[in-house]
């Protein structure tokens, strides 16, 4: 995708405002099905009728990943319900076809083909792990589908057919490390991750940033197989290295074992500074507040964020899914997907994938629970980075926030 072909927004506004007034009325944000015949908003044979538009939702409702993906499924459904309650998109109600990827990557590929080829969905909200995204990517590109992907991930990817509503690696890491240096005067870092692409890429960026840009030192870098539950030897190594900061990206069941054993070995928030990329409110349920109290997490969203958008979102979410439901970083990012799609469709005045994609860069969402977000030309979001401290009751207290929106940079120069 190249930027020159996109109508820049000032020019577009000028066109709408002066040259094409009747068109502007038709394309106005409260568009009507009557005013917008299906033949006009859908020229590529998508499943759009005068009253309805069909979208797909592709997550793991079963299998290992169901733990993580349930929140995303719920958040996307909530957003779609809210949009429908407001009258839908271009006068059409959204109907969702739910498919289960079952934590199995070939199944994800097969189901995405079904959604795009058989069901002709206008867009898909889905995937969670990088592995599932990589599995469906060739199909989305071949069939020219559109995917809204919610998870923070390792970057190094950009596709015409994907909008990434989570953070790429630099957005999550750089601010956290700078904050660690300034506020906690951390000079030595111990990097720990689960052994797969996301932690390894993240730690590579972290090492580069610490060594080349901060003048700090990496005193240890360790990776453990997914599902590993015994960290005592590692903890002894940490005790020898005595880092100012433990920088962790351990995921899944290992995560819980890691924090329980840190606490059992006497490494607590009171005695050691720890910053992690992989503990949200969802993980906290398993880890337990007492094991994470005093440690810090770097994310773009926390449930306790104090703004009006978020209060309304948390209230609606709890109303829909019960008072005990928690909202993690990815859940919020998944919630953005349908809203961003709605804005892009309304801006394009069409459900056609090419037109929606062309309209996407520059789309703003001032109503996002995390605050304001905007789609960059590289299909990632501008968003703020935040640091929060774990509390004994399992909640997070936000202690720092990047002053500016972090520019998404999926292919960071100097970090490869």
């Amino acid at each position: 995708m190249s930027d020159q072909h996109l109508p820049s927004s000032p020019r577009r506004k000028f066109m709408l405002g002066a040259a094409a007034l009747p068109l502007a009325l038709a394309m106005s944000r409260i568009g009507h099905a009557a005013a917008l015949p299906t033949a006009q908003v859908n020229t590529t044979g998508l499943a759009v009728t005068d009253t309805e538009v069909v979208v797909g939702q592709l997550h793991s409702a079963t299998g290992t990943m169901a733990i993580s993906e349930t929140g995303s499924i719920q958040a996307e459904q909530l957003a779609i319900d809210q949009i429908n309650a407001m009258g839908g998109i271009l006068g059409r109600k959204i109907r969702v076809i739910k498919e289960d990827g079952a934590s199995d990557w070939p199944t994800f590929a097969e189901k995405s083909r079904k959604l795009l080829v058989n069901d002709k969905v206008a867009t898909v909200f889905g995937c969670w792990t990088s592995a599932s995204r990589k599995a469906v990517l060739p199909i989305f590109e071949k069939e020219n589908g559109l995917l809204y992907y919610p998870t923070f991930y390792e970057g190094l990817e950009q596709s015409k057919n994907v909008i990434y509503t989570g953070q790429e690696a630099t957005q999550q890491i750089l601010y956290g490390l700078d904050w660690a240096k300034q506020e906690k005067s951390a000079k030595t870092f111990f990097l720990i991750g689960s052994d797969y692409i996301w932690p390894r890429t993240s730690m590579k960026i972290a090492r580069k940033h610490v060594e080349a840009f901060q003048g700090g030192k990496i005193v240890g870098e360790e990776y453990y197989p997914l599902g590993h539950t015994n960290f005592n030897s590692l903890i002894n190594k940490i005790k020898i290295a005595k880092p100012d900061c433990i920088f962790a990206a351990v995921v899944g069941g290992s995560n819980v074992a890691f924090y329980k054993q840190l606490k059992a070995a006497g490494i607590t928030g009171a005695r050691q500074f720890l910053l992690t990329l992989s503990v949200t409110e969802d993980e906290m349920l398993g880890v337990g507040g007492e094991n994470f109290a005093g440690f810090y997490s770097s994310m773009k969203y926390f449930q306790s964020l104090d703004n009006a958008n978020n209060k309304a979102f948390v209230e609606a979410f709890k109303k829909a899914y019960g008072p005990k439901a928690v909202i993690g970083d990815v859940t919020q990012a998944a919630y953005l997907g349908p809203w961003l799609w709605k804005a892009a469709v309304e801006k394009a005045g069409s459900f056609d994938v090419d037109k929606v994609v062309a309209a996407s860069p520059g789309i703003e969402l001032p109503t996002a629970p995390e605050g304001y977000v905007k789609i960059h030309e590289n299909h990632h979001l501008y968003s703020k980075a935040r640091i929060a401290e774990g509390q004994p009751d399992g909640s997070f207290k936000v202690v720092a926030e990047s002053p500016e929106l972090m520019v998404p940079d999926p292919f960071p120069k100097g970090y490869q």
């Binding site: 079963t62 299998g63 290992t64 169901a66 733990i67 349930t70 052994d195 870098e221 360790e222 990776y223 453990y224 197989p225 599902g227 590993h228 539950t229 015994n230 005592n232 030897s233 590692l234 903890i235 002894n236 190594k237 005790k239 020898i240 069941g253 819980v256 074992a257 329980k260 054993q261 606490k263 059992a264 070995a265 006497g266 969802d282 349920l285 398993g286 880890v287 337990g288 007492e290 094991n291």
Partner: protein, 304 residues
Amino acid sequence: MSFDEIYNITLMQGFAGLSLFAVLLLMGLGLAIIFGQMGVINMAHGEFMTIGAYTIFLLSSLTESHAPGLMQAYFPFAILCAFIVAFAFGWLAEWALIRHLYKRPLDTLLATWGLSLAMQQAFRTLIGPKEVSPTLPDWLMGSWEVTEGLDIPINGMFVLGLTVLVTGGVLLALYKSRWGLRVRATVANRAMANATGINTTRTDRVTFAIGCGIAGVAGAAFTTIGSTGPTSGSLYIVDAFLVVTFGGAASLWGTVVSAFGIAQTQSISEFFLSGSMAKVLTLLLIVTILMLRPQGLFASKVRR
């Protein structure tokens, strides 16, 4: 680094190896009875551990909401319950499934694997897909600070103590009790045991249920170390089979020695190498030894 620090780290590292040994042994023990003594390849072993862990979670939630005063005392009682619940499910599984398959040992692999999948989905549907952690009593958390810089994890000591207790109990029962005698007789020669008046059907059922019950205890103990989710069992099953096979299938002592060997290799190599490399090294070593000695460390003296 000062001498004191090296001394402390060595002690803590030694304990790390011991606590991993306890974990592996506890995992393998139930399987050693079922797989080693009965020859049933129980792929659902991990799920019986998960049942134990969920029992703890359930009781901890119940205690928290109905009798918060008992929070400090419920844990040993909950472990007993975990044994009973897993024992009951094991009894049921043997009656419904396993007893039809004693003559086809390889088919037990498929049947119990199916059982494991069914149980995982049942956990997911009935309890929920999210990982849970029971609220532990305060005395089980944190570390025992012997001296400055020397921290011994309390949960590690607890698991170690429990393992010693359970292992001792199993060995005693197997070699000193009437039940043990019947089990050993059935294992050695089923037809002959039957002929001498041993009710082998009943023996099998009790043995299988006890194996599952011990798996439940193991799962209960692991709630102090990790979390519990519907698929937690699949994390443990490979290690459990590794320990039992490496030790020599029919020997309980073999299981103990093999758990110790694997734990020490893993923990020491983890200290000097990175985590993933340590795993590779340990597995390589096990494969090599098993190639040279296919019957495992301790050969079975059973006439088949």
